[in-house]
Amino acid sequence: MPPPVSMRNVDIVAALVLLPVCLYVFYESGTWPVPPDMGNPAWIPRGVAVCLLAAAGLLLVRALQGRSLTLPARLAGADRARVVWVAVLTGAYVILLERLGFIATTAPYLFGFGLALGERRWVRLALFAVVVPVAIYALFDVTLHVPLPRGWLF
């Protein structure tokens, strides 16, 4: 099994990403109108931003001191490329869902998803890809009247 990996780099990146977030909160809250007798609306967001900044700073310092957590030892078969591929597939699915329609988009999505996960029983996968969206459509759109996206196709 691969040895545990330190999250030092991740913690440093996370802390550096949070810094501009906090600065933006300070900036935008300074532009808000201040009503009389109700307290400045910027107090709480700025208070939260200060706390977040302090926590991010602590995370950064600990990471630089080498005191970050380690990731659990990876399970066999962990595949980040698969996650990226599924994320891209899901993004395309969401964009096309309202344009093409639920069944027309979900069937190829499920087929591609199954391929990404290593399924190679083609008939079973094709049946799954067709039956599931039709069944969901029948149950939710037709029976429960929960409308699903209808696009150019179906």
Partner: protein, 499 residues
């Protein structure tokens, strides 16, 4: 005090027509969700909330309660059969459940687990019905400063949800507070953190965000680490335990039930802690503690009873004070809000009949999963064998359908996917997700009541230190924070955590 007439009426409502069907379906799906390793009760509730929109409020809520209690119980099935807990809370069931299965007693273990879960859950559901009206009537004295203090208290205990790193938990919580501020200012009406997008004026869509953070994120995690769970091969027979077996487990029930209630009431401590504590206490008090871990029925009974005994306690602060007890009740609270039922003491005044229907639903949900669990034990055992290569894509599609079903807008799908990926990264790099969600719910409560309190006092901040109940709650919040930080520093010194 509990209104028995309303409670009986509540039973009548829950047991009639579609509500009864919803209860059974909810329990059924809840057990399935709990039985499959990797799926959690929170995920199940988040996924199915949108599908309750077409139902009456009580039908929808009862269905979700069925999912909640069924999923907590269902985790024990996988623990017994494949030594892998179906939900994190079912870890303690592995210790004696799996050895029982190895001895050829899988059926008996499942039967005991089912009835034990029902005993614990029903006990605390009855406690909920009894104590909630008392707590709610006390909370009716609360005003904006007290609600602000309650929100601060709730936020302070999110530190205990920090997992291995308190700093990361704190970061997660504060990010949740900032996310809660997106939208129009509640008092001034001007846009905050909307970046010019009109869609963000109403804030981020809560349910799609929940679905993304709890369900889709886990889906991404499953994609990365898709593991083939061991197949269930155990023969399941003689499921119904004998009276003698149940009598032997009685001492375990007498310990696990109050432990579960107290743990459940304490915010941010959930079913897993309850199960472990109940198991440990039963083992400690046993005449033969050395036998625990070898397949002792009392071990299974204690763990499962403690697990489900926490559910009533978790719902108690949520329904009486509007403070979620854990991530699952946070999602339940969101569901109640969507059905125009704002949890808190005013709910008892404005909709007492609904409150008692919820009590009845909680009690009946615990009975429902016992009946279903005993009747369909062999089916639920086979559910564990479902191929992940088909299950995971189904989860993704369900998330999309659920998110779209709320408002039928593209923006909700984007919210779900974006927060799904954020949630996945958080899980991957050990930033706990639950504090973010709890902080989001409590952050809005904290901010609006802070400003309302200042409006009450015409800008005088001493209002927060001159009201006795407010001061008491704030002191309790500080005490809880100090205890949590000291406990985590001790764990740090013992080398089990980073900072």
């Amino acid at each position: 005090m509990i209104d028995l007439a309303l409670l009986l009426e509540g039973f009548g409502t829950v047991l009639s027509g579609y509500t009864a069907i919803a209860l059974i379906l909810g329990s059924f799906f809840g057990i399935i969700i709990g039985a499959i390793p990797g799926l959690t009760a929170t995920m199940g509730i988040a996924l199915l909330v949108p599908f309750t929109f077409g139902m009456t409020p009580i039908t929808g809520i009862v269905m979700l309660l069925g999912i909640y209690t069924g999923a907590i119980y269902g985790g024990g099935i996988a623990s017994i059969l494949i030594k892998t807990p179906g939900t994190p809370a079912a870890m303690a069931t592995v210790f004696d459940g799996y050895p029982m299965a190895q001895k050829g007693l899988a059926g008996k273990a499942i039967g005991l687990a089912t009835i034990s879960s029902g005993v614990g859950g029903t006990f605390t559901a009855l406690c909920l019905a009894f104590f909630a009206p008392i707590l709610a009537s006390f909370a009716l004295r609360f005003s904006a400063p007290e609600y602000f203090a309650l929100a601060v208290f709730g936020l302070s205990v999110t530190i205990t949800l920090s997992g291995r790193s308190p700093v990361k938990g704190f970061i997660s919580g504060t990010l949740g507070l900032l996310v809660a501020m997106v939208g129009l200012d509640p008092m001034g009406g001007f846009p905050r953190f909307t970046f010019g997008f009109a869609e963000l004026s109403g804030g981020l869509s809560f349910v799609p965000m929940l679905i993304g953070l709890f369900a889709l994120s886990e889906g991404f995690h499953q994609v990365e680490v898709i593991v083939t769970a061991p197949k269930v091969t155990a023969v399941i027979r003689d499921i119904l335990p004998t009276l003698r077996d149940l009598k032997a487990c009685l001492p375990a029930y007498l310990r696990a039930c109050p432990i579960g209630l107290i743990v459940g009431i304490t915010p941010a401590i959930g079913a897993d802690t309850s199960a472990f504590l109940s198991y440990a206490e039963t083992k400690r008090a046993s005449k033969h503690p050395e036998l625990f871990g070898t397949g002792v029925p009392e071990g299974v009974a204690a763990a499962q009873c403690g697990e489900n005994a926490s559910t009533g306690g978790d719902v108690l602060p949520m329904i009486t004070l509007g403070i979620p007890g854990d991530a699952a009740t946070a999602v339940l609270m969101g569901a109640l809000t969507i059905h125009n039922l704002q949890p808190g003491p005013m709910l008892f005044r404005s909709h007492p009949e609904v409150v008692h229907q919820i009590f009845a639903g909680m009690i009946l949900a615990n009975i429902a999963f016992v009946i279903l669990g005993l009747l369909f034990a062999r089916f639920f055992a086979q559910v564990i064998n479902i191929d992940r290569k088909f299950l995971v894509p189904l989860i993704f599609v369900s998330c999309m359908v659920g998110s779209y079903a709320i408002n039928n807008v593209f923006y909700d799908l984007v919210t779900c996917v974006v927060f799904g990926f954020i949630g996945y990264l958080m899980i991957r790099f050990e930033f706990p997700v639950a504090p973010m969600v709890l902080a989001q719910i409590l952050g809005g409560m904290m901010e609006s009541n802070f400003r309302r309190a200042l409006a009450m006092s015409r800008g005088d901040p001493t209002i927060f230190v001159t009201r006795p109940i407010t001061v008491t709650i704030l002191v309790l919040a500080a005490f809880t924070t100090i205890v949590a930080v000291r406990r985590q520093r001790q764990a740090l010194r013992e080398g089990s955590m980073a900072l």
